[in-house]
């Protein structure tokens, strides 16, 4: 019994010490009266991108210190970040818009991210009741009728100079309205091991991950297996169900498209030998006449014909292929005009038809997919275990979530250098970088490399960091239908207090380009340099002055309060 008493005594002592040491500082911060309430700043976890994590940290710290706001980090997994933003269930957050080829088209970009079809869009009004929907990823809930009018107008114009003029105006509107604050445009930095491969072909936005590089990179010796690594998993190899940039990257190699976006960012004829826009029954410039190359073959030896193209369009429309449906809808009728030629009839003129639809639509072999359409209950869910396409590589094997292997298609009409392509999935940048360093991996695909790793790789023999301009960008997005962001003054103050240069200097030292609009300098064709004059420079005094003038005050604790 005595021994037990001793032990209890002892435990109480330990408990006492530990609990005293452990009194957690519980934040109270409840919104009192006029205070601008605590704002949740939505971010991905650190492991997703340490650069975005730190960028938002610097911005939050600066705002809280200089303006007396209370921004607090809220961490969610990437998919959940997107969901919360989509549902309008957030205050503000950081988002990276990857530079995929289709996003080079300003019409596509604005339609997706800034098109709001009615006032209060995303604000309690369910999306489907808002006539015409809205941009699927219009996270801020931006609504500007003038912007929408210009957007519709530029979509129908084929002349570059005229379209550019309208686009410039729209970019300026976005910079002045501030539905989002664009931070910077990180260069695409990819690591490459130079032991087995040379003369890589980097593509703006895509880096080393583009099909051009995979096809055109040159071997230094006899080992013609190209090993690429990525921290992202391949989600699906069904070309109709593919939804992620990572999936497109693989589909681009197994399947082929009528157009491909070239290294300069322009949609060029690929499977299509001829293509022109003519006047059709639906009005001027609504018919697209296409002739296919004669030497196209699927991997099983069958020829690619106009029937396959028509079938693909039908299939995507009938079964609502997730990414394609919205665009394929615009083709009201498609007709065959010969074995290798066809005409698409659009409901109205559409300048993005080549770039947005035809370079994204993988041509399916009708002889395989017509059976899928008949036999499968849900053809969109068909796993496509042995994909047969007409692209530069043939499918070999796939260990889901680990490794995907493809072989060169010897019958392809364009030169393909690697004999074999192996894509390996890594769990972290750290091990991926080490694998490149240790000759296990030749190329990095996809996500840009961390700045700290790039720094560490400097001077390592056999490892090269490739730096390419990007039309992708990082931005802070705000629910601009909600206080305090619905006040243009507040947003202006936030921008005056956004240390863009400091963030770039610390988080992306030397590997990011300054950007203030959703069309960064990396998108050469559509960038508008005048936006740099419109964006506000870092000036906290000015920010506070603006707020004061608008009637904002600060309480004893220095917290920002709404105007009376």
């Amino acid at each position: 019994m005595l021994r037990q008493v001793k032990i209890i005594l002892l435990a109480v002592l330990v408990l006492f010490t530990l609990t005293l040491g452990g009194t957690a500082a519980l934040a109270t911060g409840s919104a009192q009266g006029q205070r601008v309430p605590t704002q949740n700043f939505l971010t991905d976890p650190q492991g997703y991108s340490v650069a975005f994590w730190e960028s938002s940290q610097i911005a939050m710290d600066t705002w809280n210190k200089e303006l007396g706001t209370d921004f607090k980090r809220q961490v969610e997994e990437h998919d959940q970040v997107i969901r919360k933003m989509f549902e309008g269930d957030y205050d503000c957050g950081i988002l990276f818009i990857m530079g995929s080829p289709v996003r080079l088209d300003p019409g596509f970009l604005f339609n997706t991210f800034f098109y709001g079809s009615c006032p209060g869009f995303y604000n309690r009004i369910p999306r489907n009741q808002c006539a015409g929907g809205g941009g699927a990823l219009n996270f801020p809930g931006y609504f500007n009728p003038e912007f929408n009018r210009l957007l519709k107008a530029q979509d129908r114009i084929f002349d570059y100079a005229e379209r550019k003029k309208i686009t410039d105006r729209m970019v300026e509107m976005l910079v002045q309205d501030r539905p989002a604050l664009v931070l910077f445009s990180p260069y695409v930095v990819h690591l490459m091991n130079t032991k087995r491969w040379k003369n890589e072909r980097g593509m703006p936005g895509e880096g080393l991950g583009s099909a051009w590089n995979v096809m055109g990179i040159e071997p230094t010796g006899d080992d013609k297996a190209l090993r690429v690594g990525s921290t992202y998993a391949v989600p699906s190899i069904n070309p109709m169900a593919v939804r992620r940039t990572q999936g497109y990257r693989v589909m681009d190699l197994i399947y082929d498209t009528l157009f491909r976006v070239d290294l300069e960012g322009k949609a060029e004829k690929w499977m299509a030998q001829e293509a022109k826009v003519t006047d059709g029954p639906n009005g001027p410039k609504t018919a697209v006449e296409i002739t296919l190359r004669p030497d196209l073959k699927f991997h099983d030896g069958q020829s690619v014909t106009a029937d396959d193209v028509l079938f693909t369009i039908d299939f995507a429309r009938k079964f609502k292929a997730p990414d394609l449906y919205n665009y394929v809808k615009r083709v009201v009728k498609a007709e065959k005009t010969g074995d290798l030629s066809l005409t698409l009839h659009l409901s109205e003129p559409w300048s993005g038809v080549f770039h947005v639809l035809l370079s994204k639509m993988y041509i399916l072999p009708e002889h395989i997919w017509s059976q899928v359409a008949q036999k499968e209950k849900e053809p969109i869910l068909w796993p496509n275990p042995k994909p047969v396409g007409s692209g530069p590589f043939k499918f070999v094997s796939w260990d889901k979530g680990a490794q995907l292997v493809m072989d060169k298609n010897p019958a392809y009409f364009a030169p393909v250098n690697p004999d074999r392509l192996i894509r390996v999935k890594f769990e972290s940048m750290e091990t991926l970088a080490a694998a490149v360093e240790k000759d296990e991996i030749d190329l990095q695909w996809g996500e840009p490399m961390n700045a700290a790793i790039v720094e560490r790789m400097k001077g390592k023999a056999g490892v090269k960091a490739i730096k390419l301009p990007n039309h992708g960008f990082a931005m802070f997005t705000f629910r601009c239908v909600k206080a305090p962001y619905n006040d243009p003054t507040f947003m202006e103050a936030l921008e005056y207090c956004l240390p863009r240069d400091l963030i770039m200097d610390r988080v992306y030292p030397g590997i990011a380009q300054k950007a203030v609009s959703p069309i960064p300098p990396g998108n050469k064709a559509w960038h508008n340099p005048r936006v740099f004059d419109l964006a506000k420079p870092y000036d906290p005094d000015k920010a506070r002055e603006i707020l004061k003038r608008a009637g904002y005050t600060w309480d004893e604790q220095g917290r920002l309060c709404f105007p009376k």
């Binding site: 997994e77 990437h78 998919d79 959940q80 997107i82 969901r83 989509f86 997706t112 999306r127 489907n128 929907g133 941009g135 699927a136 990823l137 297996a225 090993r227 998993a233 989600p235 699906s236 069904n238 169900a241 939804r243 992620r244 940039t245 609502k320 997730p322 990414d323 449906y325 919205n326 849900e378 969109i380 869910l381 796993p383 275990p385 070999v396 094997s397 260990d399 889901k400 979530g401 680990a402 490794q403 292997v405 074999r420 192996i422 390996v424 999935k425 890594f426 769990e427 972290s428 091990t431 080490a434 694998a435 240790k438 296990e440 991996i441």
Partner: protein, 327 residues
């Protein structure tokens, strides 16, 4: 009578499995977050979202969903993964084997170290070495796996280059059959480091169990007899004491094997081993219900089965318990 005990135990096991199945089904559906969120990044319209919900059966009531889930499960059909768009079994089963082979080797290490060091600590009892071994045994269990994992990866794979940096096979290896895939030197080379890390973490249990059991038997009567017959003390210790002490080690190993199957998330992350744990985390992030459910169910089944086996082993290895069961 033993049969009745067995039947009862089997019944309980099956009931637990069914309960787990239901709990897991509803637990995951409680998760906030819409699985269609994963398609948004491409820029979907609400129309497509509704279509996907219909395809995935998410437009039905929860009970109906559960019913069809349970029904399909009887045909070993786990459904189709939302994210990967392939039958769940195709992803999960290979990973299940990867995990099993990983755990078997890790447990082999754990028991080798545990038993050997346990015996050593008893041979060297009351000497400094015993104390150090106990410290080692405790520290091994109290050091997080990611610490040992990272240090081993950095030292043996990165700096010394003795082992690959992770993964399961050489980059680009393609195997035609299951047999070739799991029985080759390349796999062993890749397995060595991560299983060693896990083995170090798990060796504490067999170590202490072995030690305790041996210390308990140290003064048994039949040992005196053996000593009287002229056997050396060391031989007596190894032959009689250690052999008897192995029984509890075997039963606890079955138990920890069950637990360890689900617990390798961290090691799998560090060594990018394609096992169940990392896939589970990945699928949780993407709200891939069919995948998460299947993985959880497989892990749970393994745990329950191992518990069951441990109970049986207990029953047959320990005569006293066998007697109790008959009562």
């Amino acid at each position: 009578m033993t049969t009745r005990f067995l039947l009862a135990r089997t019944g309980v096991m099956l009931l637990t499995a069914v309960a787990l199945l239901a709990i897991q089904f509803f637990l995951f559906r409680l998760m906030p977050g819409d699985p269609t969120a994963s398609v948004l990044a491409g820029g979907m319209s609400p129309e497509i979202q509704d279509e996907l919900k219909r395809l995935w059966g998410l437009d039905q009531s929860l009970l109906l969903q559960f019913w069809s889930y349970a029904k399909n499960l009887t045909r070993l059909d786990f459904g189709v993964s939302f994210y990967r768009n392939v039958p769940v079994g195709e992803v999960v089963l290979p990973r299940f084997w990867n995990t099993i082979i990983f755990m078997l080797l890790a447990m082999l290490w754990a028991n080798l170290f545990g038993v050997a060091l346990g015996v050593l600590s008893v041979i060297r009892r009351q000497r400094p070495l015993e104390g150090w071994l106990i410290v080692l045994g405790s520290a091994a269990r109290a050091t997080p796996l990611f610490v040992t994992g990272m240090i081993f990866l950095l030292v043996f794979a990165y700096h010394l280059g003795w082992f690959p940096l992770g993964g399961m096979h050489r980059v680009g290896a393609v195997y035609a059959t299951w047999w070739q895939r799991y029985f080759n030197l390349d796999l062993l080379h890749h397995l060595f480091l991560p299983t060693l890390v896990a083995g170090i973490f798990y060796f504490t249990t067999p170590f202490f169990v072995m030690r305790t059991a041996m210390l308990e038997h140290l003064h048994d009567d039949h040992l005196l007899l053996a000593r009287a017959k002229g056997a050396s003390p060391l031989m007596v210790l190894l032959k009689h004491v250690a052999r008897n002490a192995l029984n509890p080690v075997i039963t606890t190993t079955a138990l920890s094997l069950g637990f360890a199957v689900g617990g390798q998330v961290v090691v799998e992350t560090i060594f990018h081993w394609p096992g169940l744990g990392s896939e589970l985390v990945f699928s949780t992030f993407r709200r891939d219900y069919p995948m998460v459910q299947a993985i959880f169910f497989l892990i749970s089944l393994t745990v329950i089965a191992m518990n069951y086996l441990a109970d049986l082993a207990y029953l047959f290895l320990d005569p006293r318990l066998r007697y109790e069961a008959q009562q």
